[in-house]
Symmetry: C5
Subunit: 309 residues, 5 copies
């Protein structure tokens, strides 16, 4: 076991050996194996945004097998998707890639100010499909977050008892926040803290802006001069907010971006002490060949020392 | 086992042998046995629209035995109905026809903008009645779809563990959609994707129009020139949206139609790669003799090569 | 076993022997034993309307024993009541009369446009009290009918597994219907269909008027000239709507009526193919002696051939 | 066993021996043992009204032991209180006094037109504390009474299966009733009927006034000249409404009253066929010595023949 | 066992030996061991107020290990925190400090007049982490307090059966109260009574002001001249309201305060018969060295006789 992995597992030693084993599987897989860093392919956009909008730009993505192949060929640490997509490939690709089953989903077929989503799969599903972990999205800032937190709590308890890793998508949204507030530094840090306090092993959140949203927090950040001008410092604050770096925090790329911007983001994540990326639309919405080039470049960034290009 | 069946079952090899067995029973029954295509008789209109409106045009349909006989004599793949109708015939016709028990129902005795329905039967009921599968209707586009999705999820988990096939009626409706949007191409594709991601083995939906409803989807469809002018292309898009054809998608005829229109629909379904039809009111609201003529003609269309009349 | 019973049980042969046994007990009890017809005494008005209004006209009815005695002496098929009333007599009258435990109740101490009621007893209660079946009221036409349908579904599944008969009071009411619509022919037929599709063995509903409520149904009824001018034809339509007569449908008398009207109703029920009556207030709100005279007359009507006086 | 007890138990012979045993314990305890009558000390006001308002007039009442001692020394039949108060004394006074655990409670820290309360203890708690029964308050007349009735139903089923006595506090309140209506004769009788039909063994309600609240009931009461001018007749009507006296009905004193009024009430209860009193604030809000004098006087009234002073 | 502990345990002798054992562990730990008094370190502010606002003033607090170390080095009786924080240190510090797992949490990312919170951990979590007890916050004065009370009830029953101590944070808040009313003497006493009646072993509440909130209570307090001018008397009244001192009541310091004010508060708590303090932000928001000085001073106050400085 590499020192990177050993250190990471050390921070989780309150967990049972089953959880440690599956966490090790994720950290020891792919081209970033043993570095303590990770890139995960998430594909839930067919449910979240609709299939045409998600897969028409690269129609190979309509096929559930495609994403398994992409994640395997790119040497990613794991692949996170919904029940249907995993059921349609888990047998064929059994044992070739750590899988994470997303247990809740949300569609956009009804307008609403506060997204809530629905549980669409179970811990038992994750076990029968051979997954290493479960995923669950919370929307701090929504009126009904209580329903999400309580559902997450039950699933977390069940997953941990079964030795599964718990990955929480902590995405601030909803009527409690301004649009800018959804990525405000204080709010992203708050969301990461909530996920960590609820027992998440891995926290996925958005890259924060320098905006501060909550008046009482703003006063503290400004009076203490918490640095937030560059991405590296903001990532550092979020990682600190996840138990001083003792919980793995990875960041999502969001909508399709310019490649150079993606690389800059990855360097910022790396240099700020982040643990990696979740890259969905930016990888599966282009043809496989160029996706592999992109992902290889990102892996190289995460494999390079802090401060390098 | 015919190649058609073998290929279909191959796409479901993540499922347990019980599910594969019942799926094979459905695919291997009737005049379309072994083709990979299917026609199913659904009779839930007594609950959905009331008995007089549903059965008075052909009063034989008031009797639960009638529908068993119709499906058997027509050589259909299966018969889907509600608890009461199946209880009233399952013993007499035991083993003669694959049965699907619809687990939720909705009446129209109270006006509402967002239909929700109620669970009216259980997986245990399906097992004690000898069914090969369960059915469940979701209404993407309604405000309370979360309740439906979570109920479907629980029933799906239970059904699959018991080796039953899961058939999802994915019918976009509700206050989130315009009337035209209920059959919009992007919305029907979205509904099919949702059903597939939730683990449906067979998806029943409506034939889509060329309309596009969701602004963000519309932009993608138009910029990528996704063909949608003829039914065949639209069916193709829906089938693609159900895991690139790896999940069985069948289409409903809707209200009573002109026979020639029905035949044209069936050819479009067949030529677009659809797997068949669910034919309710168009078959049981006429006398049995003419229903058998109609169904035989439809079976012939599905038994004919792509592109033929 | 009489042919009448045998035929009735034949229509329920999808059910387990426990259910068939209890159904036979009901059909084989009292002065209508073996005819396939039944009269049941229901006493839930103490909860539904209050004790003074219900029992003061004949104060003997305050006492739970009275109703057991009335049903036994009159030679009725069974007695349906609430938990308290049955607990207070089930030991004393054990084995003398088939009992049906009503599992939900509704009071009128809070004004509301949509009655809902509450579950007030359980299947386990029915079993420990030696009942042959359970009763449950649904109000099709109310906004929250979903809650009722789902509660009924659970209780039905549990009751059938325990070999109990399921009797559904299908009473259209609520903000989805006009006052006249509550007894409209199409609506009563619809309610009977809903109860039957949900698995009811015996359906109790109101006698329908010639009114038609739902516009789409009205069109069908009128274009097909479904007869509805006399009670016999309307009863026939409701019985047809309950699986073409394969489910037992009985009718309630409603508020206290003129005796001759009651007799005319019974003849209409009999001649239209109905299976009998539920007679509550019309029997227990007069002294026992005259109640026995009334009930005997009703039994004679049901024991007489179709078309006689 | 005294004739009074034997008769009382006879009316409950549908219940299991466990329930009969605990009912006998209650009826056979204290100075009214064997009379069929009972006085119970209820102390839930600390939760219902707050501790200062309840106990400051006699600060000894802050201490949970005080109420055990008061009930024992006064020779009452039993003591009913909340989880905390019973936990704090049940070990010390084990076996010295029949205890009833109130399973729901309501505070007044948030204004509301329809009180609902919360379940604050369980049947399992009652068993581990050695209680003879459980208590539960319903508020007929509130919009959400359905929640209360269904919770009571579940607890009643569980309690009876464990051999516990079920005591229901039937207190009409809420937006469905006028203030005067909360103690109207027809409404109190209705509440007693509801409790009895739900399976209560003992019903506690308020003393009724001569007011009539529900228009349909009023018509019946007036046309039949149901006597309601004096307390005795009103008590008689309520007792009649609780299964013609086959269920034990006891009455609460309400707010602190003049002693002579309390004695007059007790005579009215006794003479009208009531089974006794629940005396809370009137006993524990004065010093113990004078409370014992008061309670002894009440016991003497209940031990005296009907019609005496 | 010291007399202080023995006396305390005596008041809980209705509980099982498991609860008594864990209560003794808490009372027998740290520098106040054996005195019957306690100081507990609570750290839930990362969830309740956000991580930056809570930990930036002393960034060592971002790290879960820091709080274990602080509580151990200061010689406190125990440490109460959330699932994530305890999971991240429970293995390393196993057996060194009594732990209390807070089972519900509330964030401030959505504005609301009535805080509710969500269950974020379970009794099973507390057991697997080696905790001596659970914590739960109720907000008397909120509209939905019923949900909280019922969740607390279930968790309390489960915790006690598992031998765990139940600590209730009783914090009056919500639309039922004025801002001043949240710390009114009558309201704080009421909240303490509610917690005690629900079975709490230890009650944590706020220090009360002399304000009286509820009109009916105010009348009683004023007419009986209940002393409330100084903190000692107010503490005395709250302790009295928690079963005349038979339940442990400790007080929270609230927002960061001047040290001398904290010491004065502690003397008031001690002299009024309170059992100790919960000190969160006042201890972990300064550097460890000065926190240890502060806590040592507070411990000395609690170790000193009533009335001393």
């Amino acid at each position: 076991m590499s020192p990177g992995i050993r250190e990471s597992l050390h921070d989780y030693r309150g967990e049972n050996p089953g959880v440690l084993t599956n966490l090790a599987r994720l950290l020891n897989h792919g081209k970033l194996a043993g570095t303590g860093r990770m890139i995960i392919l998430p594909v839930d956009q067919g449910f979240e945004h609709g299939p045409g909008r998600s897969f028409a730009p690269n129609p190979a993505g309509y096929d559930p097998q495609y994403h398994f192949e992409l994640a395997i060929e790119a040497g990613l640490n794991g692949y996170a998707s919904l029940l249907g997509f995993l059921e349609a490939g888990a047998a064929e690709f059994a044992g070739q890639l750590p899988l994470i089953l997303k247990l809740n989903s949300h569609d956009i077929l009804h307008p609403e100010k506060d997204p809530l989503g629905a549980q669409t799969a179970s811990v038992a599903d994750a076990l029968r499909l051979g997954c290493v972990g479960i995923g669950y999205t919370i929307y701090p800032g929504t009126e009904d977050r209580r329903i999400q937190y309580e559902q997450l709590r039950e699933l977390t308890e069940e997953a941990k008892a079964a030795g599964l890793v718990v990955v929480v998508w902590a995405y601030p949204r909803g009527s409690g926040l301004s649009k800018e507030g959804e990525t405000a530094l204080d709010v992203i840090a708050y969301a990461a803290q909530i996920a960590a306090q609820m027992g998440a092993h891995i926290i996925k959140t958005k890259l924060p802006s320098a905006h501060l949203e909550l008046p009482d927090a703003k006063k503290v950040y400004e009076s203490l001069n918490i640095p937030r001008d560059n991405l590296k410092d903001r990532v550092k604050h979020v990682v600190q907010s996840a138990f001083n770096g003792k919980r793995i925090v990875i960041f999502s790329g969001g909508a399709k971006e310019d490649d150079e911007a993606l690389f800059a983001d990855a360097r910022g994540i790396r240099d700020g002490g982040g643990f990696g990326s979740i890259i969905g639309r930016n990888s599966f919405q282009r043809d496989k060949k160029s996706a592999l080039v992109l992902l290889d470049k990102l892996i190289k960034i995460y494999n390079s020392p802090v401060g390098t290009a």
